[in-house]
Every structure is written in structure tokens, then in C-alpha cells.
Symmetry: C2
Subunit: 162 residues, 2 copies
């Protein structure tokens, strides 16, 4: 029973690792060079601080997932690991929301602020970045499930014993 | 002992209610009219979908906090309330991160995308919105503490009984 629970969490962490590595890689490799009015312009993630933040958070999540795959949580660290998992969900959630806010401006623009939409010019870059955000979203959902699973297990044991 | 724990959570929820109501109100009342090249321009939160999202999430958090103040969690709903608290942290975290991403562009602009900074023109509006985001941040920290506190209490009881 305990083994199968550990295995379920292991699989979830493995999938989360895959999703966050994909998110990091896809965002880093998103590049598109376009020529606007004879001026060459290269769209890349380092142009936008929000995308750099996204890459950083997903790289942290990847490293964290990798460490926990090789050093599975012992019971006495369970509490601490749950809090770390929770922080990981928050960091991923934060990076996705920030990217979506910027993506919304990139796609639709903001006429009140005078910000023009740019996805018309660099649609390949925009599509790539969108796929990266989806991968980050999958990673955050997986971490959310890990957190719910841990809370649920503890709560169930708590309820049974009392 | 149980009474003092309930009281601590009550105080945290009351403070979170205050913070999220402040965040909602300050963001809604942020308005500034400026004249640029003889054209009157009004900066308000409804101009930016991200700020509308922020107001909506903080309004939801306010309503949720209010309901839980009057109907304190019974033990059998503890599990469910903890998950709702967790979702509240995620929604607030998401709304703050989205606002910070937009705020960064409003303050610094993004020369690569051709988005000019606008806080120079509407600095009063920017300052107001920044205070709202700080209030939202306080609300999310308070909810994070409530979640940690709930997890900690359950874990402690679990450890003691086993």
C-alpha cells in the first residue's frame, strides 16, 4: 500500500519533470527573425523579463523534481517536502500567469496604453511560447495533484486514527 | 487549545478579508485623467484585462473570507476547506503575478516589442495600482499562512498519534 503510493508520487514527479524540462527547452529555443521596414528583428525569450522569469522558474522546478526522483522523501521529511511542493506550485502558477498577461498584450495589444499586438509579425515565436506555457501549466497541475495527494493521504490517516 | 487555534485562523481570515477588500477597492478607484497632445485620456483598471482579472480574483477572495468568518469550518469539512484555501492562494498568486508582469511593462516598457512605458504619464494611476497589488500580496501571504497552519496542525496530530 505504502509502496504503491510512493510509486504514484514517483510517476507524478517524473511526468512533472518532463513537463517542466519541456517548458524550459521550448521557451529557450523559441526564436524568430523577421524583417520589418528593412530592419532585421529577432524575437527571443530574453527580450521579455517575464519569459526569463518563466524559464528560471521552470528550470528550478526541473532541478527540484530531478533531486526528489533520486532522493525520495522519507517520512520524517514529508512535512518539509509538502511545503516545498506547495512553493513549487506557487512559483509555476506565478510564472504561467505572468506569461499569459504578457501573451494577452502580445496577441491583442492594449490600445489605451498604445501597445500594439506583435503576434501578427512574430506568430511562430508566439506559438512556440504558447506551447511552452502549456507545458508549464501541465507541470503546475501535476504538482498541484502531488500536493492534493499528500494532503489527502495525511488527512485520511488522521481521520481513520481519530 | 482547539479554541485558540480556531481563534488564530479567525484572525488570519479577518486580516485576509481586510487585505483583499482593500486590494479590490484600491484597484477599482484607481483613476487618472491626463491630457496628451490635447487629447484627454483616462487611465482606469477596466482598460487592462489583467487588472479586471485582479479585481475579480480579489473580490472572490473577499467573498470567500467573509463566508468562512460567519460559517467557521467544522472538522468534517476541514479537508475541503484546506483545498479551497489552497485554490484561493493560487488565484491570488496568479492575479498578482499577472499584474506585476503588466506593471513591469508599464514602468519600463519593452523596446523589442515597441511598447512604451506609460507610468511617466499616469504615475498617480500606477502608484495606486501598485498599492492594490501590495494589498493583494498581503492577502495571498495570509492565505498561504492559513494553509501552512492547517497542514502543520494535521501533520503534528498525525505524528503524535503514530
Amino acid at each position: 500500500m505504502i509502496f504503491s503510493k510512493r510509486f504514484a508520487v514517483f510517476v507524478l514527479r517524473f511526468l512533472a519533470l518532463g513537463a517542466s524540462i519541456s517548458a524550459t527547452t521550448i521557451m529557450i529555443t523559441s526564436r524568430e527573425t523577421v524583417e520589418v521596414l528593412n530592419i532585421k528583428f529577432e524575437a527571443k525569450y530574453t527580450n521579455t523579463p517575464t519569459f526569463v522569469y518563466f524559464v528560471l522558474m521552470n528550470a528550478i522546478a526541473s532541478g527540484y523534481s530531478l533531486i526528489l526522483l533520486f532522493f525520495p522523501a522519507k517520512n520524517k521529511f514529508g512535512h518539509f517536502i509538502l511545503v516545498l511542493d506547495l512553493i513549487m506550485v506557487l512559483l509555476l502558477d506565478s510564472s504561467i500567469s505572468a506569461c499569459l498577461a504578457i501573451g494577452q498584450v502580445a496577441k491583442k495589444g492594449n490600445s489605451h496604453a498604445g501597445w500594439l499586438p506583435i503576434c501578427g509579425q512574430v506568430h511562430k515565436f508566439c506559438d512556440h511560447a504558447a506551447i511552452a506555457v502549456v507545458a508549464g501549466f501541465v507541470a503546475s497541475i501535476l504538482y498541484f495533484i502531488i500536493v492534493l495527494y499528500s494532503i489527502h493521504n495525511v488527512m485520511n490517516l488522521f481521520t481513520l486514527k481519530n
